[in-house]
Symmetry: C2
Subunit: 341 residues, 2 copies
């Protein structure tokens, strides 16, 4: 593997827990964040099992484990299939629950599927855990999307939750299920609300996972980057910083059973991000587009998170600069983009 | 019909809208509130269709329409059956969406069914409405349950939403779906958060719908009323006041697309309520019980609502005294309890 594909070698000074010999399950583990986490865990000598449905519209991609296939056990199945899930959940020390439908627009076009995956399957997973593995640590990847349009910035965990799309509503339910099963049944859950995560292995075929993905595809194809609006501020986390956060959440039992934000102090608007990508790539251009109605209705304007609580309770802070992350990501897709198109 | 079975003749001074000739659908219309609403609407010369699944654990009871069968069309089907629902939703002016699983304990024992009915079926209903009847007025019956344990009293609509059971989480999702479909697709939805509703036609077989139901059954059987705790304050609405509120919500298009509380200024603790029922019945006794663990975990302590917003925007306030309501309810079940056991 090209060492630049992973930023894991960065010395963050974090105590990420003792993982050698631990049995770990990662739902959605062939996806962008899940596979990066799986590789890191295998390097930390954990015994990693992945469950992934490889639904074409989602983030799963077998190539994400390229070079690491022998170290990681892959089980292809859908988390809506509770019989396979019941067996997979057993005897695991830690469950990273990352599976989900992530596209906001898809959630509006097919809301029932979004609910089945992001709501019903999450509830089944917790019910099964309660029965067959109540001792497991469960880390749930949630999203900033459920805050809706920010009422103030940066958005902290006290900000009202007012999701503006079906995906946000169902992710909120899944969070609440996780909290309830901790309160009522003593399950050991921890919830992280992720903001925009970027890095190698993200989906670039379209904007379903992150708009940065399709921008990268356009950039590498020599096409203009299509920027909707352009003035909206966003914060970005390197996937390796997110993996650090997940490992902390999976190892620190003293964390609260309330959601923690991730986030970054590096914020810029979409036009600036596109300009930075063009500069790092060495060429490219931007096509500024006005917002189509369908997107406008579920757009949230400026957004960036306050992650002070997770910094205070877990010691986490992002360590990789946005420029480094983008450089590393562009280099990865120059080599491997054929596997992602 | 015994005139005391309905309090509709009370002159509340409310302008409840023009209902003659209106096509109305009531989901869960064989239940306690749904049937009382259906009868009132038929008296107002609306053309009423009921859809109800008659699931034995829920509130539906064919006897609830006793004496009114000819005026109301009943369609027995489950709102999870989207094919029948699609046809039933068409050509309706107003849809009162009251169907649901109401038992908090059942929602913990079988959370997936609660989600299927209180979440998935609600989402399907809105999707279908959007496609086949986007002009309809939709009134959704929600619940105080989703506030969780009150942080202050009385609980107004700004109170944080922190459901403490699966039922509360799924009812919250259903609310958010209704609001989203109004925001994004322009559906004309209105949400009422009901508190404890009592009156003729409520379920008394067990505590699945309201604890007052099983108390009444115990009282009429000459058994002690089993009161868990006893000191918890509650507010109570007469079902006819709730029907007034539903009619207002179904006719006032200027109401906000944010939830409105119902409630009452008559509040008393559970022991006082049991004592009042015993006095009105003329005999009876109380058995005070300490809380079992299973209930304690999802109990919310004292609760009563502030309904100022709905009073301000719709002119609604409760008009029936608790004593009158209980008298009328006891009289109803003395006559008809065999149909409810």
């Amino acid at each position: 593997m090209n060492p630049r594909e992973s930023g894991a070698s960065v010395d963050t000074g974090l105590q990420l827990g003792s993982w050698a010999g631990k049995q770990v399950l990662i739902t959605g583990g062939l996806g962008f964040i899940g596979s990066t986490l799986a590789i890191r865990l295998s390097q930390l000598e954990a015994r990693v099992t992945i469950v992934d449905s490889l639904i074409p519209q989602y983030g799963g991609n077998l190539f994400n484990l390229n070079g690491h296939e022998k170290a990681i056990q892959v089980n292809l199945s859908d988390i809506r299939d509770r019989y396979s899930l019941e067996v997979l959940l057993q005897n695991k020390h830690v469950i990273f629950n990352l599976a989900g439908q992530t596209s906001h627009l898809d959630s509006m076009h097919d809301p029932e599927t979004d609910l089945a995956i992001n709501g019903m399957a999450q509830l089944s997973l917790l019910e099964l855990c309660r029965r067959v593995n109540p001792e497991a640590r469960i880390v749930f990847a949630s999203t900033r999307q459920l805050y809706g349009k920010p009422k103030y910035l940066p958005v902290d965990e006290s900000h009202p939750v007012e999701p503006v799309d079906i995906n946000g509503i169902n992710k909120l339910s899944a969070e609440l299920y996780h909290r309830l099963y901790a309160d009522v049944y003593g399950l050991r859950t921890c919830i992280l609300r992720l903001t925009n995560t970027i890095g190698p292995r993200m989906r670039i075929r379209d904007a379903r996972q992150t708009f940065v993905g399709i921008w990268l595809k356009q950039l590498l194809a020599g096409e203009p980057i299509e920027v909707w609006g352009g003035e909206q501020l966003r914060d970005f986390n390197d996937v390796d910083d997110v993996v650090d956060a997940l490992l902390l959440a999976g190892s620190l039992d003293a964390l609260a059973n309330t959601p923690y934000n991730l986030g970054s102090h590096e914020r810029l608007n979409l036009r600036q991000l596109a300009e930075l990508m063009i500069r790092l790539h060495g060429s490219g251009e931007i096509r500024l587009m006005s917002f189509p109605d369908e997107r406008k209705k579920i757009d949230i304007g400026d957004y960036y998170s306050c992650y002070d609580r997770f910094q205070r309770d877990a010691g986490w802070q992002p360590s990789r600069s946005l420029e480094t992350t983008l450089e590393r990501t562009i280099a990865y897709y120059r080599l491997h983009q054929s596997h992602y198109l």
